[in-house]
Symmetry: D2
Subunit: 284 residues, 4 copies
């Protein structure tokens, strides 16, 4: 088997797309390993993800051949190596449970990424409980006055490391609109509430005050609209009246880690496609 | 065994309340069957629920004896027969899944209520799919102009039927502040979203637009603050990008029925105590 | 739009199946509305489900055209009207919560079935709490001596009513091997445990004795191997030490109803394909 | 506030126990912070857990005073410092995800333990992905021939380290009956299935073969009866036909870590009481 590829595409829905795409692959000797499609009848949009073994044909040949088909249908599309670990830049503040969880999953081989660098507005010593190993760490302190400058450094580092994805793993700074726009579609944040409930700061305290009976977490793409970006994954767990805000924080850590890791994995496996303000998520 | 009683109380927390209450019961020959307490360290309030077999002593004797103790501690309290079905008035509009579910549970003996009447702003024929049997049904149409009058009728019927609880089982009318205040603490509504997300109208359409990955339902006491009353129970289920608003409505029906039934059962068993804008829920 | 069709198929996996099938449909003017496929790399089997608008071409034309393609690939396949309610025969004993739930879902239009008859080993009066309406009811009492005869009656009725699916909605009789074989692939049972735990009788009492912390239910195709048939759907909920067997029965009713309804819906929508002792379930 | 204490007790149920125990504490100036009780009406047993601030009285005074009361009721009881981290010995084989999770929770202060030592049948180098820090590590290889001797070493180390709890964090060796008996009530194992389903080896492969639609994990006290000890906590998650055994292993890691951590926390907080082959779990 050659190195498997993954093709993702979206376009206006028209009859025959599946036939055309699957025939395209078959004629070139491709063998489909996994395929999903979604016909959004609300917006008449079409979404597809195909994992395939390209056989004898090179990725470049497939790519250049596919251009004509993609143009015919007006597709947004991407052809990627399925198994190449994606280059990920992780940003974190003081709470490192999501970071620790992502790195552990990476180390045991279940998270298909290469963590190219860790950026924090706190010094390395603040990340006490996570084994960072050889991953480059950059301390980029931030104040109201230096925010613009710090964000420029982040962009510069993301470029230098050729980062494909930026993960805000409980990075407790709000990105400027400029920064959010710069990383649009390639920056995932974990919000520690069940969005759209409890946007903004201290969601567990908000949840306690409101007296809800479940808490949750939401992983979403960052947009200029705070806590409003397309949601990739969410989960929630029951709580009780006896749970203090501190207990909620404890229970929340577990949900946050789990939800962020799942969202990152789905993104890295090219399973998440944007559909306006929503996402299409092709689980296996 | 005599007929079991259930004592619920709340007051400012002070040392010795458990001792005093349990000794009070023991000295009168009471035997505790189930007991829970909650010391709210945030508000320094104390909550207790005790199911007990009163032995030889009458409920009236216990009640009059307890007054002194309750006054000493400044308790809000209630002493009730555990197994007497509570008189419940159910209000419904066109969607009758919650009503059907509540009545089925009642008929097989798992919902400790006596449904004294069903009120609807639609005629009896609109409730097509639920077997109403002999339960009195009142059609109380409502328009903007007649709202005040209709609500007076509801109050009058609640009084006539001596209803202890009013259940809004997908009753699609917003109660006036006056009405909400009148039924404070004895009126449960099911909201078809995971509050505080998607308050107000058409929550499933809101959920679809926002692209959330879970939907839920919330049962809460009705207050003058719309969709802001103390929450009794909530649940949520995963959804996917492929779920249209219609699919969400279908999946939601199941969650709504379940959440409302659980909240009503908890209330009827005297397991829900108010704690400001929150609830204390003593599950067995 | 013509009446949508649903094509389901399975065969040994080979390159090009998706291309061939989707091109087949496209060439005949079919427009795919929803499609899923599964390449089982463990068994090298291929499974596909396609909902499509056939456009101008008749179902019969598509069917006869498809034969050659199906033979070429050695497919098991089925071409059905998507929206035609399937003819369902429901069997029940004394506990009617699953029956009540199925009928309510049918009445409000969310369960795509036509309940052709209800069969019970108890008389109609035993089904106290469910509105049976005009659905034919047959009382088929059973004893050890008459079992064979009663089962013949069931087969005869299933044939007379042209039932496409038999649902054992808490039918508390074990089918003989002969009967199970007769209805293979078209008989769904709800078992009130989280299989393979607690097979056989009184699973909630078994669960209580064992002290598990969750209970569940399993909907599966009936096979000659008791409680071992291919599982379609399962769910489980947390319980506590305070739950008596009676409480487990109460909590279980809800899970059973939900799990059976979901399995039946999935089957009726042609979303369940057999894969040896397992199932492939194509959710939308 | 003095150092809070936690009293746990169980005995045959009799009227007045709550009154006697709470009065006992009140008379000595104790102030209850959290209390739960369970009257098991099946076995007529009584269970209680009380967290309290002892005020001016010493733990030793309370303990010696309580003896008479405990004897009168024939109680099994324990009086412990609530906040003293318990001494925990962790055993592990090659898979270290549960170990990593426990240690991370400990390091951030949410797991009230002191990990006194880690024992493994594999060398330290095999635990590649977990930061062990200064925690003593003992490599105790085991073969069929040396099993008895290795287990003696384990007992000796447990004694030397004064371990209060032994956690089998995916320790892939079956304890001998002797060993299981030795650590009865103070040894928790995580089994990677939803017991009682899939006992024994390779539960995820068993789950795949059987085609279940959910997988789970069970944390239980170790007894001489393999995978039959009293269950403390369980959880389960949905899976699909597309999940290979490898995928189940990945999904299972998360459930295992979570379930074991919760069970260990509950035990360390003295929230788990044995009730024959079952457990009483007093969550806050």
């Amino acid at each position: 088997m050659s190195e498997p590829l993954v093709l993702t595409l979206s376009c206006a829905d028209r009859p025959g797309i599946t036939a055309r795409v699957s025939s395209f692959l078959f004629e070139r000797g491709g063998n489909i390993l996994e395929a999903q499609q979604f016909n959004d009848r609300t917006s008449d949009a079409f979404f597809m993800r195909v994992e395939f073994d390209p056989g004898e044909v090179s990725r470049e040949a497939i790519r250049s051949d596919f251009v004509a088909l993609a143009e015919e249908y007006g597709m947004d599309w991407k052809l990627a190596l399925r198994d190449r670990p994606r280059r990920v830049l992780i940003m974190v503040s003081k709470f490192d449970h999501c970071l620790a969880d992502l790195l552990y999953r990476w180390r045991i081989g279940e998270m298909p990424m290469e963590p190219v660098a860790i950026l924090s507005n706190h010094p390395r010593e603040a990340i006490e409980h996570t084994h960072l190993g050889d991953i480059p760490f950059h301390h980029l302190p931030i104040t109201r006055e230096t925010k613009s400058e710090q964000e420029a450094q982040v962009r510069e580092l993301a470029e230098r490391y050729d980062a494909e994805l930026v993960v805000l793993a409980r990075y407790m700074q709000i990105l400027s609109d400029e920064q959010a726009a710069h990383f649009a579609g390639r920056c995932i944040n974990i919000h520690h509430s069940f969005l759209p409930g409890f946007k903004g700061a201290k969601p567990y305290h908000q949840a306690y005050e409101r007296g809800v009976k479940m808490i949750g977490a939401s992983a979403h793409y960052v947009t200029t609209d705070l806590d409003e970006g397309p949601i990739i994954h969410q989960a929630a767990e029951p709580i009780s009246h006896a749970d203090t805000p501190d207990e909620l924080v404890r229970k929340g850590r577990e949900i946050e880690s789990r939800v962020l890791a799942e969202a990152v994995r789905l993104h890295l496996e090219e399973r998440v496609l944007l559909n306006g303000q929503r996402t299409v998520v092709f689980r296996s």
